[in-house]
Amino acid sequence: MTREDVRAGRFAGQVAMVTGAASGIGAAVAEELPGAGSIALDVADAAAVDGAFQEVLRRYGRLDVLVRAAGAGDPEAKRRIVDAVVEGRPVELTDSLDDASWRRVLRVNLDGTFHVLRAAVRVMRPAGAGAITVIGSSSAFDAPVGYPHARPPRRVCTRWPRPWPRRSSRPGSA
């Protein structure tokens, strides 16, 4: 699909939301979704996220498209990686990565994604339709050295949600 298709109305008449629309990829997406609403939202604040989606439902009656683009990096970690590379020494960051930095990245990237997905599903499921794209990162496939908080959201989530073990209905079986 090309931008020409979008301008010709591929998403015409659809209600769309973009998180992280203030800059970067989110802004590029919002520019191409005619009439997409974008609001300043702390995606780590579950109540704020729920409120925003409920407001869209109240105003427009439905949500057809969501693109979740808000993401957090760690410039301080990157600076320390660069310092190590420039000085020709191994990157050593994990042992000194502080709780606040860890939580800040995970709050936005992991908690925020959960909050946004949950809120969107709550609005879309009764309608029986919707389409969502989450902007992730190639670092999920190949961990960058010295950036451990960028990859765990994927590792953690491969154990979530864990389906209940199936139980046989036959008595006496495991």
């Binding site: 699909m1 970067g24 389409a131």
Partner: protein
């Protein structure tokens, strides 16, 4: 984050909701601008495509929410210009 989205995708497709992910490599955004030059230089192999533009990544995101992607559920296309494959 990707596995979270994929887990949700497998559940909610039954309700007619498609969820997908796009995994961009280095992209020319504010986040990238805050990446020190020395790190960015490591991504700038002249044999490869340059940094993606936000518009190029948004094209993939928009394709994924369009009807043309009707059979993509829980997909995670890697858009990193071939820096590595997965």
């Amino acid at each position: 984050m990707h596995a979270l989205a994929q887990a949700v995708a497998k559940e909610v497709i039954a309700s007619g909701i498609r969820v997908n992910v796009v995994a961009p490599g280095p992209t020319g955004t504010g986040m990238a601008a805050r990446t020190p030059e020395a790190l960015r230089a490591g991504f700038a192999d002249p044999r490869l495509r340059p940094y993606a533009t936000p518009e190029e990544i948004s094209e993939i995101a928009l394709f994924l929410v369009s009807d043309a992607a009707a059979n993509l559920v829980g997909a995670v296309p890697l858009a990193n210009g071939g820096r590595f494959t997965a």
